[in-house]
């Protein structure tokens, strides 16, 4: 028999709460503490930034999906579903829920809730005019049926081999998001008076009301309603609403996990998210020891010396983040440029190759990244089983002379002022868009690249622009080139934007091709064969459940991508870092840094504990 938090024990004694045994499932999920069994108590302080930081809460508490990632970010593990079966064609997934799990108000969590969440909520076209991508395959939404009280079956119209991985990401939380007994009151199907209720609540429609009460995965209102039952270790006490200066979450007395000694989790009583508007004040709180664990927002390389120097003062240790991204700075030349001459230039592979070897990467890494990286092009990180040496390292050797020769050969001869001319006589000139507020290091890096390229006769402008504009220019295909960190270092399946024209807002070297791909050829521009081939291969990989087979397919993609050399990378994504107060234990000091592995969530904060 395990223990429970003293405060809860007191409530039980007062008769205000059922005893622990009644609150826990029969076979509660057992979590092995990272270091040792913890002790109850304490309030964990963490910072949020501004008003759009709801994902900062999600990452900490909101990972209670049917499945979850393991700590290493390599495999999917059971969570609310204690096991599952997948049909061979990867179209049917049957999940067996842990029996006796309760929502934070004590109401049992059953298959009905999952069916309700998908069938009544997500598939309600008034609420979701389009089904979230994860839950739709081949344009058709998934069907969810209740097999028994604790068994649900998901059926897709076509193979969806990645579904489990997707389910483990934050975007896969829909099935466990909406408690039927609470949220049904906001649906017309269950509540005929819903429009009147909406009026009374001061909103214009029932959908507004639903969202403000039940939230959604990535909107602030998910944390704005103290009444909504959840399955999370902590529940909202002081909500995240407009104008709030902090958010407080308190332990969920019905949380369904225990440690190896059967003690109900979480150990920590309360989480206190202070909301800072500015990173610097967050930094101040960190170095003066007012934050217990933080990596979000402060993980800027330039902060590292300051954070290191204040380790003693702030009484914390450093947390190393393993980037899941592959590339610190990927340069996307617009191969599909509107101007034919520019297009021709960027589409010229040897031009791109010459520019790539014209960059003195070691110097750049030394200056901008404190020597903390290595030259790199693209593809899975060296530690990943699908690592592709050629794709990752080709054309990273700095050789200005060779670059010059290549450019000469490609027809870009030097003009009078030392800068090269295009075959049509125009000076070679283009600008690279970068968002300084978001990625200040990329500005520094590009500045250096500019000087390197000037040496080989290429004139480039570092175009620092505002965020929304960056997107608009990309969407309009109006950019010469843009930079962004390249993803897919540890999760190549989830964001393959650099490997082929996959992401309409990410694969910035050929946005029209991505449109062609995502719209099944209806929009955009038809890509060349090599792209089409990769698109097909990726679709194949996506529907391959077998990991090895899938890897083989993906490796083909990397080979082609390496050959085509569409994007130019600078260096391997640099590891981020964070801080952990010395009295906070059970925290892995090294963890992946990814949205798919929404750190630190999969490290299970419910088993974090304070030592005195």
């Amino acid at each position: 028999a395990g223990g429970e938090a003293p405060a809860l024990a007191q409530l039980v004694k007062d008769g205000k709460l059922p005893p622990l045994a009644e609150r826990l499932p029969k076979k509660p999920m057992v979590v092995k503490p990272f270091e040792k069994v913890g002790t109850y108590g304490g309030s964990l302080r963490r910072g949020l930034r501004g008003s759009s930081d709801h994902n900062g809460i999600l990452r900490m508490v909101g990972n209670q999906s049917l499945v979850r990632w393991n700590l290493e970010f390599t495999a999917v593990e059971p969570n609310l579903a204690e096991r599952w079966e997948v049909s061979d064609d990867a179209t049917q997934f049957t999940f067996h829920l842990i029996e006796g799990v309760r929502w934070s108000d004590g109401h049992p969590f059953t298959a009905d809730d999952v069916v309700f969440a998908i069938e009544d909520c997500v598939k309600n076209t008034e609420l979701y005019s389009a089904t979230p991508a994860q839950l739709a395959v081949a344009g058709k939404p998934v069907t969810v049926e209740k097999v028994d009280d604790y068994t649900v079956r998901f059926t897709f119209a076509a193979a969806n081999a990645l579904y489990l991985e997707n389910l483990a990401t934050p975007l896969g939380q829909h099935p466990t998001l909406f408690p039927k007994h609470y949220c049904s009151q906001f649906l017309p199907k269950y509540n005929p008076n819903i429009e009147a209720d909406a009026k009374k609540a001061g909103v214009t429609s029932w959908t507004e009301l639903f969202r403000s009460r039940c939230g959604d995965i990535e909107i602030p209102t998910r944390w704005g309603n103290v009444d909504k039952p959840t399955l999370d270790p902590w529940v909202v006490k002081e909500p995240y609403v407009g104008g709030a200066t902090r958010v407080v979450m308190t332990r969920n007395p019905y949380f369904w996990q225990v440690d190896t000694e059967g003690n109900q989790l979480p150990y920590i009583d309360e989480i206190n998210f202070g909301i800072s508007q500015d990173v610097e004040s967050l930094m101040l709180n960190v170095i003066s020891g007012k934050i217990d664990i933080q990596e979000r927002h402060i993980s800027v390389l330039a902060n590292k010396p300051t954070l290191s120097q204040n380790m003693q003062k702030g009484d914390y240790r450093l947390l190393t983040l393993v980037p899941s991204a592959s590339q610190q700075c990927q340069i996307y030349f617009n191969i599909t440029h509107k101007d034919p001459a520019m297009r021709k230039m960027f589409a010229d592979k040897s031009f791109r190759q010459a520019l790539s070897i014209g960059i003195n990467r070691p110097e750049l890494i030394d200056i901008v990244y404190f020597g903390q990286s290595e030259p790199y092009q693209a593809g899975p990180r060296p530690t990943h089983p699908w690592y592709n040496e050629k794709y990752a390292r080709q054309f990273t050797e700095f050789d200005a002379d060779k670059a010059g020769a290549m450019l000469d050969q490609a027809g870009y001869k030097k003009g009078g002022d030392g800068f090269r001319l295009r075959p049509d006589g125009q000076k070679v000139f283009f600008s690279i868009d970068v968002i300084p507020t978001l990625y200040p290091d990329l500005v520094d890096a590009l500045e250096l690249v500019k000087t390197h390229w000037a040496q080989i006769g290429i004139d480039m402008k570092v175009n620092t622009i505002e965020r929304a504009l960056y997107y608009t220019r990309g969407d309009d295909n109006a950019h010469d080139a843009q930079v962004w960190p390249g993803p897919g270092g540890l999760d190549p399946m989830l964001d393959p934007r650099d490997f082929f024209a996959f992401h309409p807002q990410g694969s910035r070297y050929a946005i029209p091709w991505t449109l062609w791909y995502t719209s099944n050829g209806a929009r955009g521009e038809e890509p060349p064969e090599s792209q089409k081939k990769r698109m097909k291969l990726f679709d194949e990989a996506r529907s391959t459940a077998d990991l090895d087979k899938r890897g083989a397919v993906m490796k083909q993609i990397f080979d082609i991508a390496a050959e085509e050399f569409e994007t130019v990378g600078l260096c391997l994504a640099v590891g981020g870092f964070g801080i952990i107060r010395n009295n906070l234990r059970n925290v892995p000091e090294k963890e992946p840094d990814s949205w798919s592995w929404p750190n630190p969530g999969p490290a299970l904060p419910q088993q974090f504990t304070f030592t005195s």
Partner: protein
């Protein structure tokens, strides 16, 4: 009064000075203002040819000099015998492996003599020709002289400060003067005529005043053509801002003019046949000159600093453009406060500029004040 009892007055009629001469004479007596004038002129000379005064290429990144503290320029060398001449010692760099913090130590065994009018990096003068002669140059390119230290990329803060003066002392001022002119003219007309004209002008001013500035900034940043150079864009922003910024001055001018216009000397000027414009500018405005001089001298630092706030919001000038605002913005973080306070040296430049301009303004005010003889 046949003869005034004046001693030492030249009898010559022509000995009488014009008002400008008078002001200049009065100004010259004001020692602090003269110093301020000299400083201001020097700052503008620097701003004209910053390359000449810079020691190192302001954009040159140097891996071994990141967060390099300021270096001392020695005059007397006692380490290697005894000798005179401006020189410095290169710093030796070691890095703390854990914290990545750099540790610099002066290496007194090596001595580098600085050269005056020596050769350094190449820069262009007014965009006309290129040269590489600098006021101060260091013969040793590998261990450059960093008078104000270096920033996170090992760039020379001194040279950047010098370079930044160009933008900071010029572009922002365009807006200042534009809004000044608009404010005086519109406020002057409103206050001079009063009545109905005033009423409508005031509604216009109210309207402009209540226009929210932040959305204008944001909209502006987006609306300007992207292929303009950063400085031109920024100039446009300041100009457009001045199109709303005039309203404040206009209100103040108008308030003052409303009472001034009842003064007898204004009536006298009107009878003299002076046109409205001249009445406003030549007759009424001087009575208000102190306020306006004060406003200008205040607006200049405000403009230099506004740039820092603008870039804080992701607007305004952005690196790689160098201006004092950008430099300060880059320095504005806990890291600089805690570990690299020399990054605030551009702030000292701002202080000096502000001080010089204000003292200059004070001097002008005093010199133009008829009661101050």
């Amino acid at each position: 009064m046949a003869d005034i009892a004046v001693t030492n007055i030249q009898p010559d009629r022509a000995a009488v000075a014009s008002q400008w001469q008078l002001i200049w004479w009065a100004f010259r007596r004001h020692r602090l203002a003269m110093v301020a004038l000299v400083v201001t002129v020097m700052m503008y000379i620097v701003a004209l040819v910053p390359g000449f005064f810079a020691i190192n290429d302001p954009n040159l990144q140097n891996a071994r000099a990141t967060f390099h503290p300021p270096q001392k320029l020695h005059l007397i060398d006692t380490e290697n015998g005894f000798s005179f001449g401006p020189h410095y010692y290169p710093m030796k760099l070691t890095r703390d492996p854990e914290t990545l913090a750099a540790i610099f130590k002066e290496d007194t065994t090596k001595r580098v003599d600085v050269q005056f009018f020596g050769r350094g990096y190449e820069y262009s003068v007014f965009g006309l020709f290129n040269t590489n002669i600098h006021l101060i140059a260091s013969p040793d390119r590998t261990t450059p002289l960093l008078l104000f230290g270096a920033d996170r990329l090992g760039r020379d803060v001194f040279s950047r400060t010098v370079q930044g003066s160009q933008v900071s002392l010029s572009i922002g001022l365009v807006g200042v003067f534009l809004s000044l002119m608009l404010g005086i003219v519109i406020g002057g007309i409103s206050g001079y005529y009063g009545g109905r004209i005033d009423f409508f002008m005031q509604r216009l001013i109210d309207f402009v005043l209540s226009l929210p500035t932040i959305p204008i900034w944001l909209a502006m940043a987006a609306a300007l053509p992207q292929d303009w150079p950063a400085t031109l864009q920024y100039m446009m922003i300041t100009i457009i801002l001045s199109l709303t910024g005039w309203a404040q001055l206009a209100r103040v001018v108008r308030g003052r003019f409303l009472s001034l216009r009842t003064e007898e000397f204004v009536a006298a000027a009107r009878l003299d046949g002076v046109r409205e414009g001249r009445i406003i500018f030549r007759h009424m405005l001087p009575s208000f000159a102190s306020h306006i001089i004060a406003s200008i001298t205040l607006a200049v630092p405000a403009m230099i600093l506004a740039e820092t706030s603008l870039s804080f919001l992701g607007l305004g000038l952005q690196p790689p453009t160098i201006s004092w605002g950008v430099l300060l913005r880059e320095a504005q973080n806990i890291r600089s406060i805690a570990t690299a306070p020399w990054l605030f040296m551009p702030g000292c430049a701002v202080v000096v500029a502000v001080m010089a301009l204000n003292l200059l303004g004070d001097g002008l005010r005093d010199a133009a004040d008829p009661y101050n003889k």
